[in-house]
């Protein structure tokens, strides 16, 4: 029954609008992009002053680095909003009892879960498009710079957000809102830390340290998506000399991308099953 999934997805979006989630996200995005735009303009003006005689290539490098910095900050903001927004939707409705009237209707439990998942993915896709797209537009507007591999880079960031939403909805079928938020943010933090540990291990050539970082990425493959996206969207010069603020000593492989997609699919399946079999 496709219409039930569509109806619940539409209701999830409607709820986000009515409960001012969309408004607050728009305010946060607006503030972020305004601040970023001002900083970008100031940085590029300084760069022009300092390297007045330098080649256009170096100016493009500065624009690329600043754009990746903006994408990184936007990625953290998107991930945090994704976890906070999704952590209450299933567990909160179970705790309040609102889920009982929904689940007693002629709708399968999996349709309720899938409808909410679709609703959140749509909302966060829009958020990602506005934030990451905004950062790229600012870079292009001030310097005319556009990153390579934008589609695959944004696709990886989207996959990271899907992993986070799915895992948060999965925990929401069994944990309270607070416990769910703590666990999901904790896992995101673990992945963040694991990513940097992996880099540190690669730079210092400690295989075991690299392995610890990889294990963290296997437990929660969110940060690895960002690192792969930044790798794909780095400037041609940075790629050629393998140097830059977002040039990684250890780059997640294509297999890791497949793993993240499989991870999200498995989390979705487990969420559907967990919600279908739990008592309300």
């Amino acid at each position: 029954m496709k219409s039930a999934v569509t109806l619940i997805a539409a209701t999830t979006v409607h709820q986000a609008v009515r409960r001012k989630l969309v408004l607050m996200a728009a305010v946060a995005c607006g503030g972020f992009l305004l601040l970023y735009g001002l900083a970008f303009a100031a940085a590029m003006a300084n760069a022009n002053n300092v390297i007045n005689a330098a080649s256009r290539l170096i100016q493009r490098e500065a624009a690329s680095s600043f754009m990746l910095l903006g994408l990184y900050a936007a990625d953290l903001l998107t991930a945090t909003i994704a976890i906070l927004a999704a952590s209450d939707t299933i567990s909160g409705e179970i705790a309040s009892g609102a889920m009982q009237t929904l689940a007693s209707k002629p709708v399968a439990r999996w349709q309720i879960f899938l409808g909410k998942w679709v609703g959140f993915v749509l909302l966060l896709t829009a958020l990602l498009a506005v934030l990451q797209g905004g950062v790229m537009l600012i870079a292009w507007g001030f310097t005319g710079y556009s990153a390579p591999n934008v589609a695959s880079g944004l696709g990886l960031l989207w996959l990271e957000m899907v992993v986070l939403v799915t895992i948060t909805l999965l925990w929401g079928t069994r944990l309270s809102t607070l416990a769910n938020g703590v666990l999901s943010l904790g896992l995101f933090g673990l992945a963040f830390l694991g990513g940097w540990i992996e880099q540190l291990g690669a730079v210092t050539q400690h295989v075991r340290v690299v392995q610890i970082g990889i294990v963290a990425s296997l437990i929660m493959p969110s940060e690895a998506r960002w690192r792969r996206a930044a790798f794909d969207m780095r400037s041609p010069l940075s790629a050629a000399v393998n140097f830059g603020p977002f040039t990684w000593a250890s780059v997640p492989s294509g297999l890791m991308v497949v793993y993240a997609a499989a991870y999200a699919a498995l989390a979705l399946m487990l969420g559907l099953r967990s919600f279908a079999t739990r008592d309300l």
Partner: protein, 317 residues
């Protein structure tokens, strides 16, 4: 062939971890009747209802709802439900909530445009339907909850403590709504700990204690236990036992004061297994030489039966 029973369960049992919530929920609810589930707080009434609706999976036992296995989506199409701890999407207005639930029930948009205002009027919310539910009082939320339970004119309506947030007028409304559902042939399953509410609205009632359905009583049946209060002098001390009648003196026998002009009439309470024994008991008393001043038959009240079957509040845990 359509089953005559709207609800049929056999030894449904529910364990939450090691905690036993329901040990034996065996019920048979006929189509078209108003059925009450009575028991003290914590007796397992709500868990029984949730198992019937597929919200809670039984640990053991089997059952059918409207001829379908428990939890089947097909049966839920014909079910209305007002939960005990009702909480709705409070960011919606009453009208929007009913439209959402109606669409989940598969109702056509045209039918909903006609049915929603009609129901809002019926539960006396009328124009309040446009207000967000978060601005509703508890009673108003319960009324809109009743409306969503009746949206598609279901074959069976489960009402779990439907009057908990209502004032006396609201309680009368619930009583009328239950009567209307029965008139159109729907089954009503009323879950309550309010004896008066169940006594007025229901045809039959099941008593639940400590997660077990102990007894089912037909509130409309003539064979229900009948009680007679008697005030008489010289009441024989036996003779009624052979008829299956139980008698007990109610007043204090030592309180008689001969100085006040003979023995005062004694107060007796007799429990008859059948109302047909009423004239026989009177004849037996008179034939035995009793002087009968008062002979007042009355049915055993639901409260008395409740206390007899379930015991005092708090025993149900």
């Amino acid at each position: 062939m359509t089953s005559e029973l709207a609800v049929e369960t056999h030894t449904l049992r529910k364990l939450y971890g090691r905690k036993l919530a329901v040990s034996d929920c065996t019920l048979a609810v006929r189509r078209g009747e108003a059925f009450g589930l009575l028991g003290p707080n914590g007796a397992g009434k709500s868990t029984c209802v949730k198992m019937l609706l597929g919200l809670v999976r039984p640990t053991a036992g089997t059952g059918q709802l409207l001829g379908e296995p428990l939890g089947a989506v097909a049966a839920r199409r014909r079910v209305g439900f007002l939960p005990e701890h009702f909480h709705f999407q409070d960011w919606l207005s009453g009208t929007e909530l009913l439209h959402l639930h109606g669409r989940l029930l598969g109702m056509e948009a045209g039918r909903l445009r006609q049915r929603v205002p009609e129901l809002l009027e019926r539960v006396e919310l009328g124009r309040q339907g446009r207000k967000p539910i978060r601005e509703y009082s508890k009673g108003m939320q319960q009324r809109v909850g009743l409306a969503q339970a009746l949206l598609q004119e279901p074959d069976i309506v489960f009402l779990d403590e439907p009057t908990s947030g209502l004032d006396p007028l609201g309680r009368m409304l619930v009583r009328d709504l239950i009567a209307e559902q029965r008139q159109r042939g729907a089954t009503v399953f009323l879950n309550s700990h309010l004896l008066g509410e169940v006594e007025v609205s229901c045809d039959r009632v099941a008593f639940v204690k400590a997660g077990r359905v102990l007894e089912t009583r037909d509130l409309r049946a003539p064979e229900a236990v009948t009680v007679v209060n008697v005030r008489a002098r010289s009441v024989p001390r036996d003779g009624w036992g052979r008829l299956g009648i139980q008698g007990r003196r109610q007043d204090d026998a030592s309180a008689s004061d001969p100085a006040k002009g003979g023995d005062p009439p004694e107060a007796w309470r007799f429990e008859l297994p059948r109302p047909e024994l009423l004239p026989e008991l009177l004849r037996l008393l008179v034939d035995a030489g009793a002087e009968v001043f008062e002979y007042t038959p009355r049915r055993d009240s639901l409260e008395e039966t409740f206390l007899r079957v379930v015991g005092h509040e708090g025993d149900g845990q």
